[in-house]
Symmetry: C2
Subunit: 337 residues, 2 copies
């Protein structure tokens, strides 16, 4: 029987292994400092498709295919797909996955979706319901910008706190047997809404949820910041990262050294003019499936906590005067047990 630990955490008795990952990103992401870790960098954000939405689906489909190829698996050997994205009704994932012969669970956790999929994938795989689970998300600058903000042709100015949605996709395949890296613990967030209403400051809206999940993770497990080489959030950006680290410091947890944020890593913040950093499901997904997984395999990282954060509003709830609920899910990944 697998064990619950504390309030919101599961400690797996049979931790699943991350068998393989893949990541594919767009040109701007490929021009950033993490470019050596991505599997493919696309010059054309349309990827030969007629619309950005079809292009995002193609990113997700091709990333899943690449991960399966690297894992030497076919879609028939995938027991469950856990997938989501930011487009209305999650069509990025739905259309990408319709060609695969595998049971499908659609998820929506905004930019927290990669850790939601890893969490559910780990639960289902560790419990023996699946031999292989495929966890995947994507985002696309152009589909997100037109849906959540302005038509791209408008060329509106961006506030200093705004973040730049990453064009990319990350996919991880979990297996019930294997020799690591292992998903040993998950701490699943609850929705936290501190009344932030500024959609141009997502970092501030999501930071309270990430602080809540991280403190709960430490309390539930007894781990301390020193137990980690890396605490990776995604995507709080510049503003939210400072809020998180300061909030943890006030509670007696010093994470300044271990903490990195996928939104700050993926771009050269000043040089690439992305204001507060990257965002979107594809940001944390591509950094985790690129940089983190490859550094774990290389032995340069041993114990990582990855915590993707999501802002759960839509454009209409903001127009109706409501605030932005946030959520964050944490996943502990270790090179060996």
């Amino acid at each position: 029987m697998n064990q619950r630990k504390g309030k919101q955490t599961v400690e797996f008795k049979n931790p699943s292994t991350i068998l393989q990952t893949a990541s594919i990103v767009g040109k701007k992401e490929g021009d950033g400092p993490m470019n050596e870790y991505f599997d493919y960098i696309l010059d054309d954000d349309y990827w030969g498709e007629k619309t950005w939405e079809k292009a995002e689906s193609k990113f997700q489909k091709k990333t899943a295919e690449l991960a399966m190829r690297k894992a030497q698996l076919t879609d028939k050997e995938i027991d469950y797909i856990f997938a989501g994205d930011l487009i209305n009704q999650c069509v990025g994932a739905n259309y990408a996955m319709r060609d695969f012969d595998a049971s499908f669970f659609g998820l929506y956790g905004a930019c927290s979706t990669m850790c939601e999929s890893l969490s559910l994938g780990a639960m289902v795989t560790s419990a023996g319901y699946a031999e292989h689970s495929l966890c995947i998300t994507s985002s696309h600058f152009c589909t997100a910008e037109k849906q959540f903000r302005f038509p791209l042709e408008y060329g509106g100015q961006r506030t200093p706190t705004s973040q730049w949605t990453v064009t990319g996709s990350g996919c991880a395949i979990l297996t019930s047997s294997g020799d690591g890296p292992y998903i040993t613990h998950i701490t699943t967030g609850k929705i936290v809404d501190m009344g932030v209403c500024d959609v141009n400051n997502m970092g501030a809206a999501m930071a309270p949820a990430s602080a809540d999940t991280l403190i709960t993770h430490f309390e539930d497990t007894g781990f301390t910041p020193e137990d980690y080489d890396l605490i990776l959030t995604g995507d709080l950006g510049v503003v939210g990262s400072d809020i998180l680290c300061d909030a943890l410091n006030q509670k007696g947890y010093d994470i300044y050294k271990q903490h990195k944020d996928a939104g700050k890593m993926i771009f050269d913040i000043k040089g690439q003019d992305v204001h507060a950093g990257g965002s979107g499901c594809g940001c944390c997904a591509s950094i985790f499936c690129g940089y983190v997984f490859k550094e774990l395999k290389a032995g340069n990282l041993n114990n990582v906590l990855v915590m993707a954060t999501g802002a759960l509003m839509n454009t209409m709830t903001i127009q109706q005067g409501d605030s932005i609920p946030g959520i964050a899910h944490a996943v502990r990944v270790c090179r060996s047990l």
Copy 2:
């Protein structure tokens, strides 16, 4: 270790019990033939809120609270919430659940979401990760109509194959111990797209996915239609139900006697002018959490297969000339083991 069976099915070694359910619906649903089974019927589709979206969130929040009250549980005793709805970015669920102190997984499976949440809830609860899981969905005629079709004020004509989105919510609380009704098997669907493009004929778009899942369920488990008192789909409506039954018949499965569709049950099809019947996540959810659960508890039903079906497009993919992917998830519920 829990057991996978066949291609897409899990047979639970420790089946979870459906501890309690609740259902709340709007006036039109309360005027229909299933009205005695709902816990509350609302006269005001706004439920005192300023917008339909806020009203839908209130439906979901109040339905969850009612289910917890009936189960004599507080939100702190709920380990996981599995929730979703049809509004962009699933804000119906996100805003409803922000007041609860429980880990949250957001789902999107269109009208299949209730069975997606029951499936994941059953997996997580049966594996021992959770003592109590809360599974919930909602839909609202007005939020769906304005988002997917036309402004309500426009008063557009409806085609004979169109369905009427149910205003309502259904919630089920699962527990790892208990004396039934039990969730013994789940068959999780894959995405099936047969090229149907008519958004006014959702039943036809979803029927192939439901046939695929149902045939797979019979093949995986060895069960036959005769093993069930009721095979409940939701929501194929009049058109999709006929396609499903005929497709199964061609494969040698006669389900004409056992099959009912939540979309056909919830309204008096002719008398209430709903064309091909009801639809929306709230339809299957309120019929399952109302009629099915109460008849199981009363001993009038013993073995039920509930299979919610979803159409995974959005308005934009249709405008871009794409077809409608469908999905269906089946959950077997038995009064006793």
